[in-house]
């Protein structure tokens, strides 16, 4: 593995996909379960047949909090941290950009942070008509 790898031995493919603004999770070709973060096998059925698979990027806000205290360099309160549940199943900690409430549908967006890979954040899906 090259020295410019981002992440660890198991997560590097996630960050390589992130450079192309693709959100990927592990999917089990034996039982169909999706999992995140990555493990060397499927936690649902213990099959080794796990592959990185592109997620839809669609999710629902499971919970959220507005952080109002300074926690360190790079964070300007207030900002929103959320747990979103991907349509594929796994939950991610993320930031919400734009007005959202728990239960709202959201979609992935990407925050640049060169030279590191972009970070997946989520934004509201504009309501139809």
């Amino acid at each position: 593995m090259s020295d410019d790898r981002f992440g660890d031995a198991l997560t590097a493919p996630f960050w390589e996909a992130a450079r192309e603004r693709r959100l990927v999770v592990q999917a089990c070709t034996a039982c169909g379960a999706a999992q995140f973060y990555p493990r060397p096998f499927c936690l649902a059925c213990e099959s080794d047949a796990v592959e990185w698979s592109e997620a839809s990027g669609l999710a629902q806000v499971y919970s959220m909090t507005t952080v109002r205290i300074p926690i360190g360099a790079g964070f300007e309160p207030p900002y929103v941290v959320a747990l979103v549940e991907l349509d594929e199943g796994p939950r991610l900690v993320t930031n919400l950009v734009g007005d959202c409430s728990i239960g709202d549908r959201v979609r992935v967006a990407w925050r640049d942070r060169d030279p590191d890979p972009p970070l997946p954040v989520f934004e509201p899906i504009p309501k139809e008509g």
Binding site: S63, G72, L83, R91, V93, N95
Partner: protein, 379 residues
């Protein structure tokens, strides 16, 4: 299995402790707890300590001049101590040790060692997938839990605040409590918002403190200078390290630890005279009430708001004033046990629950990651 007892308890110096080190705090508390048990340091053959530095039991053992035949430096966060009672019960009941010393001390207030961000090594899951989003540690995760509980069950900010108000009401009766001035629901709601929906006064204290506990068998407990208290139920469980991996934000591993402890004790929630639930944040005891079966899931907020945990309530709880108002030395679980034992001995002074015979201490660690439950009974 032979009965196992808590034969002695003690607090370390509490509050802001300038004239001790953490190890000397432990030493003082250990001596006091052993005196209650009618013992001295040389009786100790088992050591159980949490987060006292690398190889914690080894450091404490050397400091106290002890060479144990049973040692445990487990890190189960704030839930370590109820779990230690579980581990000590197994060790004592099987004869692997006779006199188990459980101890902890922290000077985190004086040392100002708490930080809001969690220091992480490179390339951990948390450093890659959580830290970049600025979730404050640990309050941000508890805020996500509280927000979800409110969304799912209609729990209100006033109900959360009622937990802090109840704790303060008890603290006013405890001369050792850090905060004893009157507190109202409006005061809690008017305090600064830290991470919605949790205000500053929804959060536990940061103080120096700790304690010691002696667990032993029936034969040795007969020598105790004070009435020993029987350990009748124990349970522990853990489930997630990252908040993203908690399968249901409104259900904690306390459901499993509580069921194990209550089943072993042969009790139902209605048998409990006094409850000492870990109160790191106001949402925490609400989850404990639900997961231990004192009320239905989602009804914990109303249960507290109705005044049931208050001094004249049907389930007196947080009787020391809790982590919210009495003391919170980073890991509060040991002090829950100290208070439970004192209630069962009838020595809790102005905050004594009349005729208390069965007490439950319910610890949490991490981000509601670990739970451990101990059921104690007076003889």
């Amino acid at each position: 299995m032979d009965d196992v007892f808590v034969a002695g308890v003690a607090e370390t110096p509490l509050g802001e402790v300038r004239d001790h080190t953490e190890l000397s705090m432990i030493a003082v508390a250990a001596k006091e707890a052993l005196a209650e048990a009618g013992m001295s340091l040389r009786d100790v053959d088992g050591i159980f300590v949490h987060r006292m530095g690398e190889e914690g039991s080894v450091q404490v053992g050397e400091y106290l001049g002890l060479q144990p035949r049973y040692a445990d430096s487990s890190d189960l966060g704030g839930a370590s101590f109820e779990a230690f009672v579980h581990h000590a019960l197994v060790a004592v009941a099987t004869g692997r040790c006779e006199v188990a010393l459980i101890a902890y001390a922290s000077r985190q207030r004086s040392k100002r060692s708490r930080t809001r961000a969690r220091q992480e090594a490179e390339d951990t899951i948390r450093s890659q997938f959580e830290s970049p989003y600025g979730l404050p540690f640990p309050i941000g995760s508890y805020a996500l839990v509280a927000a979800r509980h409110m969304h799912q069950f209609g729990t209100t900010a006033e109900q959360l605040a009622a937990v802090a108000v109840t704790a303060r009401e008890w603290a006013a009766r405890n001369p050792k409590a850090w905060r004893r001035d009157p507190l109202s629901v409006d005061d809690v709601l008017a305090s600064d918002m830290v991470s919605d929906p949790l205000h500053r006064l929804d959060c536990c204290l940061v103080t120096d403190g700790g304690g010691a506990l002696v667990v032993t068998n029936g034969a040795r407990a007969r020598d105790a200078a004070k009435p020993a208290v029987r350990v009748i139920g124990v349970g522990e469980s853990h489930m997630h390290w990252h908040i993203s991996q908690m399968s249901d934000l409104t259900e904690t591993p306390g459901r499993a630890s509580g069921a194990a402890a209550f089943s072993m004790a042969g009790i139902v929630p209605g048998d409990v005279d006094v409850l000492e639930p870990y109160d790191a944040f106001t949402i925490t005891p609400i989850l404990a009430l639900e997961d231990l079966g004192f009320c239905e899931k989602g009804e914990g907020g109303a249960f507290v708001e109705e005044g049931r945990l208050r001094p004249d309530g049907s389930l007196p709880a947080l009787t020391s004033g809790g982590g919210l108002s009495y003391n919170h030395p980073g890991a509060f679980g040991l002090l829950l046990l100290v208070e439970a034992v004192r209630q069962l001995r009838g020595e809790a002074g102005d905050r004594q629950v009349p005729g208390a015979r069965i007490a439950v201490a319910h610890g949490f660690g991490g981000l509601l990651s670990v739970a451990s439950t101990v059921v104690l009974a007076s003889e």
